[in-house]
């Protein structure tokens, strides 16, 4: 635990003398108790995954989805307080719709992240509200080709909408993470929730950054995401969990630019590989221990 609030943690809009907002820090604690969520930005898309802790045997398996579609090309996953996340999702959908109403075009991932960051930050400012108890990961694929305007009836000018620099690429996969303070950054790979430390360590081993961009393909990323969720899962804390995964590719990829659930067959294959990788690791550790004993 960080130092005790000593009276400065009773209200949202009050700083402590050393410049901290304790309510926001406590919200981060709420996030750290939630099931792990991760996002991976790869060469040709984005993968979102969440460790959905099974809190009761009376819950239907596969129901109560945790990853939400915002617009066709956007998905959000979050860790922390689920009702807060639900509200965050509702707001994100409103923002995406409002953008379409105004500009007749899908909201770019960066703009959605900016608006949601602003929304989250507003909840750190007022006495009457508390900060969001979630950290959200926003994944999206902005169209790389000239997309038609909503309701467009003709082909439009053959030169396209204009304002584009030749040789520069537009659109592509994007990943952002928004924290309870309202802080948001763009990431190559993002992790939050209780297993974030282990998940981040695994994400850093993947080839996601670099000047040439990520080399990981979407299918590889799905398998890595499943493995990372399994690696970061702590058996001693929660026994049961479900893996939920979604992906977004470009128009020429498997989801045709849409945010979609990873097909059952592929998810099960990824889970099988993840379990196998875990067992192999354990075997290695056992062998090492045996050697040490010798």
């Amino acid at each position: 635990m960080t130092s005790i609030g000593t009276g400065y943690d009773l209200a949202n809009s009050i700083f402590s003398p050393d410049g901290r907002n304790f309510q926001v820090e406590y919200a981060v604690k709420a996030v750290e108790n939630g099931g792990t969520s991760i996002g991976i930005r790869c060469k040709d898309g984005v993968v979102l995954a969440v460790e959905k802790v099974v809190t009761s045997k009376l819950l239907k398996a596969g129901a109560n989805k945790r990853i939400a579609t915002i617009d066709r090309h956007l998905g959000i996953v979050y860790s922390g307080m689920i009702p807060d996340g639900r509200h965050f999702i509702d707001r994100a959908r409103d923002e995406a719709r409002a953008w379409r109403d105004t500009f007749k075009t899908p909201i770019p991932t960066a703009d959605l992240a900016s608006r949601m960051g602003g929304y989250m930050q507003a909840y750190t400012l007022y006495q009457s509200v508390r900060p969001f108890g979630i950290t959200a990961i926003i994944g999206g694929f902005d169209s790389t080709s000239e997309a038609p305007v909503d309701g467009e009836v003709g082909a439009g000018p053959s030169c396209g909408a204009g304002g584009k620099v030749p040789g520069k690429t537009y659109g592509g996969p994007f990943l952002y993470m928004v924290e309870p303070s309202g802080l948001y950054w763009g990431y190559y790979g993002a992790a939050t929730g209780k297993g974030r430390q282990a998940a981040k360590a695994e994400l850093e081993k993947l080839d996601l950054g670099g000047p040439a961009g990520p080399s990981l393909t979407l299918e590889q990323a799905v398998k890595e995401a499943a493995r990372i969720i399994y690696v970061s899962h702590d058996d001693s804390k929660d026994k049961e969990f479900e893996l939920e995964m979604t992906w977004i590719s470009g128009a020429d990829g498997p989801t045709k630019g849409l945010h979609r659930e990873v097909p059952k067959e592929l998810r099960e294959e990824a889970e099988r590989l993840a379990k196998k990788a875990l067992e192999d690791d354990e075997d290695d550790e056992d062998e090492e221990e045996e050697k040490m004993e010798e």
């Binding site: 007749k104 309701g151 467009e152 003709g154 059952k264």
Partner: protein, 271 residues
Amino acid sequence: MDHRPQAWGRPRDDVYGAYDASYLHTNGPKTATQSPIVTGTSVIALKFKDGVVMAADNLASYGSLARFTDVKRLRPFLSTSVVGFGGDVSDMQFLDRHLTELAIDEAYEHDNTSSSSETPATAGQLNAANLHKYLSKLMYRRRNSFDPLWNQILVAGFDSSSTPFLASVDLRGTTFTSPSLASGFGAMLAQPIMRRHAATEEDAAKLTRDEAVAIVRECMKVLFYRDARSLDKYSIAVVTRDGVELSEEEQLEKQSWAFAERIRGYGTQTV
């Protein structure tokens, strides 16, 4: 000289007499949307054994002027249905945007790729029958507020029991269903041809896809011969259980205007 802004750009009263400003302050209801401006002509559609074919030309007319020649009037919905619009093009755009919103709402609730065994029609998604019901309620509501959407709409796809579905709704909210449907001029010119091939549901259920497409293409040709607000470039959509195939760059082929020689009574013929 009258320098008030109200008089700017108006003919001088001392030269032309008092300006008739009566049209500036009508106190009736808004009438701007009560007649179509830029319009599309017929949409035609025909059911066959495992789906529906729909076609419409790519023209938007401004009165009798062929104003826009690459207007796409067939709109796929959720890749399971097709909506074809005749009538006012701006109202079509409004409806198209509205349907886009509806399709995004559907994406919140359903995910039709989670299992490959489920077809979209059985996955609980909004199907063509649902969509037609929705549009008919929308059109009827708008006509009751004296602000109709000036369209005749054909909806093609599948109903909840996964059988081919085809129905129309017009600007008054009137609905109609039949094995073949045509809006506008097509109701006079194309409908009899389609009925010759598929008078009943049973007849339509015997048609193959290729036959149905050929009949619809033939109808588009007849419409271009006889309808003065039509174009030889058209779009054709085929809805099957596998999805929607939409081609928007079709060109009428093998036209024969020999019959035109025999037509008398129009224009400036002297004999």
